[in-house]
Amino acid sequence: MTPSQTAGPFLAIGVAWMEAERLVDPAAPGAVRIHGRVLDGAGQPVPDAVIEIWQADAVGRFPPEAPWSGFGRSLTDAAGRFRFVTVRPAALPSPEGPEAPHIDVSIFARGLLQRLVTRIYFPDEVAANGADPVLRSIADGAARRSLVAVAEADGSLRFDVHLQGPEETAFFAY
C-alpha cells in the first residue's frame, strides 16, 4: 500500500476550496452546531489543522442513497477552532449490536505523519452510548468520555480535541 505522509504546514492551500462547515442550513429542522478546538500537548491551539467529518444522515443513509454529501471539512483558525452545522445521524445496526449516533472524524496537520481518527458521540444519548459496541470496547472511562461532545448553554455541542496531555482524546487504529 502507499504509506501516509504528513499534510504539512501548507495544506490549507490545497483543501480550502472544499471547506464545508455547513452540511445543512443552520435554520433547517434538526440542525446541530458542533464546534471545538484542537490543542497540542502544551495546551496551545493548533492553528493549521484540517478537521473532516463523515456521517450517516438522520435516517441512517449514506451517499448515493442519502440526499447530501455526509461530509464536512473545517480549517482551524488562529485559536485552533473548527465548526460544523449538521444533523444528528441515526443509530446504526452493526454485527456487535446497535451503534449510537456518531460522527467519524479525521484530523490532518503538520506534525501528524498519519491522520488521526476519532468519533463524536452525543451527550444526551445516554442509553444508546452505554450500549454502543465501540464505546464499550474502551476500558478507560476518561478515554470513553473524551468521545462524547459537551452540551453548551446555547444548544450547541463542543468537542475539543486534545492531541496529548491529561485530557488526551481517544484516537483509533482502523
Binding site: 455526509g70 490532518f108 492531541l163 488526551e168
Partner: protein, 234 residues
C-alpha cells in the same frame, strides 16, 4: 502504539517520530483503540462531482501567463487494497513552485513567489482509477527541523477512497533526489520497499516531446485493519 495494527506490516510512519520535531507536541501518547469497520467506516463520501473542471488538473494554465519551471505530467492510477480501480473519486494536490516557495502566507522562505503559479490542483479519477495532472517540477525548500534541513521535492496528494478507511493524505517524491535520505518525513516510513512506493518513476510514455517530462505514480489505498483482501506485496 503500532502493535494494534499488527495484522499487517507497519507501513505507515509512526505518529511519534523524534527526528520530525513537529510530532513532539502533536503525536498522541496513549495506545490507539481498534475501530471496527461498521457502516460508517465501510461507506465514504463521493466528492468533486460537478465541482471539478478540466482546468483544475492543469496547474500551468490557472493564470494569465505560464509559470516558471520544468513542465511535467504526473499521472497514474488509484487502486484499492483489493487491486480494483478507485473510480470517480476526488484527488487533490498542492505543491511549492519551481523556486521552492508555497503560495501560502505562512511560508517565509525568501524565494520568489510566481504570480503565474498557485500550486493547487484537483481532478476526479476515471473509470480505471486514472488521474493526470500537468504542473511544474516543485523546488526543494529549507525548513527549521534541523541544521541544513531541506525537504526533497514533493507534491502533496489527498485521496478519497471508496470508504472512510481508505482516506489518505500523502506525498509523492521524484526519482534520484539526493535529499531523500536526509528527510525525516520520508525516512519515517521504515520499510524501504514502502518508502519506494512514495517515489514516482520517470515515464517516457507520459513524456511529451518538446513539451513536458512524464512521471508515473500509482497509488494503493486502504488495506488497514479489517480489510485483509490481499497478501502484502511491496
Amino acid at each position: 502504539m503500532e502493535t494494534l495494527r499488527s495484522p499487517w506490516p507497519v507501513l505507515d510512519p509512526p505518529y511519534d517520530e523524534p527526528s520530525y520535531r513537529s510530532t513532539a507536541l502533536r503525536a498522541p501518547k496513549r495506545p490507539l483503540i481498534l475501530l471496527p469497520h461498521h457502516l460508517t467506516e465501510r461507506h465514504g463520501p463521493v466528492l468533486g462531482q460537478g465541482g471539478v473542471g478540466a482546468a483544475d488538473a492543469d496547474l500551468t494554465r490557472q493564470h494569465a501567463g505560464e509559470p516558471i519551471g520544468q513542465r511535467i505530467v504526473v499521472a497514474g492510477r488509484v487502486l484499492g487494497s483489493d487491486g480494483r480501480p478507485v473510480a470517480g473519486q476526488l484527488v487533490e494536490i498542492w505543491q511549492a513552485n519551481a523556486a521552492g516557495r508555497y503560495a501560502h502566507s505562512v511560508d517565509r522562505h525568501p524565494a520568489p513567489l510566481d504570480p503565474n503559479f498557485t500550486g493547487v490542483g484537483r481532478c476526479v479519477t476515471g473509470a480505471d482509477g486514472s488521474y493526470r495532472f500537468v504542473t511544474i517540477l516543485p523546488g526543494a525548500y529549507p525548513w527549521a527541523n534541523h541544521d541544513k534541513a531541506w525537504r526533497p521535492a514533493h507534491i502533496h496528494f489527498s485521496l478519497f477512497g471508496r470508504a472512510f478507511t481508505e482516506r489518505l493524505v500523502t506525498q509523492m517524491y521524484f526519482p534520484g533526489d539526493p535529499l531523500q535520505p536526509h528527510d525525516p518525513i520520508l525516512q519515517a516510513v521504515r520499510e524501504p520497499a514502502a518508502r519506494q512506493r512514495l517515489i514516482a518513476a520517470y515515464d517516457i510514455g507520459l513524456t511529451e516531446g518538446e513539451w513536458a517530462l512524464g512521471y508515473r505514480w500509482d497509488i494503493k489505498i486502504g488495506g488497514h485493519l479489517g480489510t485483509p483482501t490481499e497478501e502484502w506485496v511491496p
